[in-house]
Amino acid sequence: MEVGVPMTEKLITIKDVHKEYKVENGDNVNALNGVTLDIDKNEFVCVVGPSGCGKTTLLNIIAGLETYDSGKVTMHGQPIVGPGPDRGVIFQQYALFPWMTVRKNIEYGLKFIRKPRNVESIDESGNKTVTTVLERYDTKEKHDLANRYIKMVNLTGFENSFPKALSGGMKQRVAIARGYALNSEVLLMDEPFGALDAQTRAQLQEDLLKTWETEKKTIFFITHDVDEAVLLATRVVIMSARPGQIKEIVDIDLPYPRTQATKLDPVFMKHKNYIWETVYKMYLEIPK
């Protein structure tokens, strides 16, 4: 590797993050105990671990939905102090607004986004200056963006449907389209396919891979499904519970594009078996 030309660009840095909860009976639960993790730009990170390992807490902290007791979480070197459209969250329960149509659901978030535009101006002495102004999307731009991402997730024809008329898989597609339309740098996905049946889940995994391969983004993806993690991720982060810590990080050296057929690859099997055993061993150690 040449000096000064980094292969990857660090996007999110999580350094020695601690977080404790007080639960109802007064006990403290150590949700995160010294978590350190760097996420590179356009990386697909999957987090697996037994329930209670603090994976959702970690996601919420990156999203800016939760605070932490000590440590440091930065994006582009800037501390994360709250939620923002640069980090889109996709929830397991879809979180679509039921009173908005598919199109309105996708367009709604654009309301909060300002897009940069370069404005050229020439002063009296003929000097050209370029200034960048931030402006809102107009109705037509919103419409076009929504159309583009509705098409991307194969929901053309459902623009004016209300969420209640959609299946779980379709709802999650709308949520993904919404995340993409906002052009967030990072998509934080909290067990997004957890509530779907096996076939829908397999299809959405492939669709997400295709989407990510064509339009790269940084994805931080929580799942309890080891198969899913290995199929999607460039790196799988294994977390352990009580206290929530990163136990191991496994690089998945499988080439993209990946499909469901990738699951037959011996490299896939190797990673899957290894991660599964590690997670299951931790699960058995949890006092029940």
């Binding site: 939905l65 459209p85 969250v89 329960q93 009173w99 709604y108 978030g109």
Partner: protein
């Protein structure tokens, strides 16, 4: 060799899981017709018994009462319009006031903690108990009636609507929050539309409460109104007028509820 299966065994009806649905539209309408006709028939039959007829007028007597009350010199329509006016004004005021109060209670925990004990306390008091105080304060005009109906409808609606505001799906709030929505955006874009169905349910409950309180409201000294008419007829043991009044209130309630239901369907097609 196993014994051949008998035809009779094949025909044996399989046990079906208990069905909790409403049934098909056809059977529903047939049963509804049977229920209404049967009810009237039963009413007609028991009023043939003289002892029952002394306190329960027959359908025929009620029909005659309707004819005489709605005749040119009768007071039926005046009673209806004045009662409707009271219900609608009391209910309307309560509706307008309950919305801001319930949103404030749902949005600000401090407001909730300050107001809720009083709402819960007042809710257990029958509005009729307030009549002496209301008469002393307001006299015998129209305002005491509006006030009694207002109190009844307001309390019901505040409790219902504020529950709705409080129980807005937190995932939706979170989602909007991650887009960068401000508190103002959250309130107008998420909380208000999300609690909209509760406002409509609250309105229906409030309307029902307004009608049930109407009789109590009209006890506060008045000559006209369905409640007053029922009170007056009681003194002359004219059970046909009493029944006519009761049935009229029931029909008004049914129609008003259906209107609100229709508005609800129209406004919440997304539900």
């Amino acid at each position: 060799m196993p014994a051949p299966v008998q035809d009779s065994q094949l025909k044996k009806k399989a046990r079906k899981l208990k069905d909790f649905s409403d049934g098909t539209a056809r059977t529903r309408y047939i049963l509804m017709a049977i229920s209404i006709i049967g009810g009237f028939a039963l009413w007609f039959l028991i009023t043939l018994i003289p002892t029952i007829n002394t306190f329960l007028a027959s359908p025929k007597q009620v029909w005659n009462a309707l004819l005489s009350e709605s005749a040119a010199n009768g007071r039926y329509f005046k009673d209806i319009s004045i009662s409707l006016q009271r219900v609608l004004i009391g209910f309307g005021l309560a509706f307008v006031c309950s919305i801001p109060v319930s949103f404030l209670m749902g949005w600000y925990p401090k407001v909730r903690n300050l107001v809720e004990p009083w709402i819960q306390f007042m809710r257990t008091i029958p509005p009729i108990a307030l009549i002496p105080l209301v008469i002393l304060a307001m006299g015998l005009g129209e305002s005491p009636k509006y006030t009694i109906i207002f109190v009844a409808a307001f309390l019901v609606m505040v409790v219902t609507i504020y529950q709705g505001v409080k129980e807005v799906d937190k995932t939706l709030v979170k989602a909007a929050y991650t887009f960068g929505a401000s508190d103002k955006d959250l309130f107008f874009d998420i909380v208000i539309p999300a609690s909209f169905p509760y406002i409509l349910v609250g309105a229906r409950l409030g309307m029902a409460a307004s009608l049930t309180t109407l009789i109590a409201a009209e006890l506060t000294g008045t000559t006209f109104g369905l409640g007053a008419r029922i009170q007056g007829a009681q003194q002359f043991m004219d059970t046909s007028i009493v029944l006519l009044g009761i049935i009229t209130i029931g029909i008004i309630g049914f129609v008003l509820d259906k209107i609100l239901l229709l508005i609800e369907k129209k406004l919440t097609t997304w539900k």
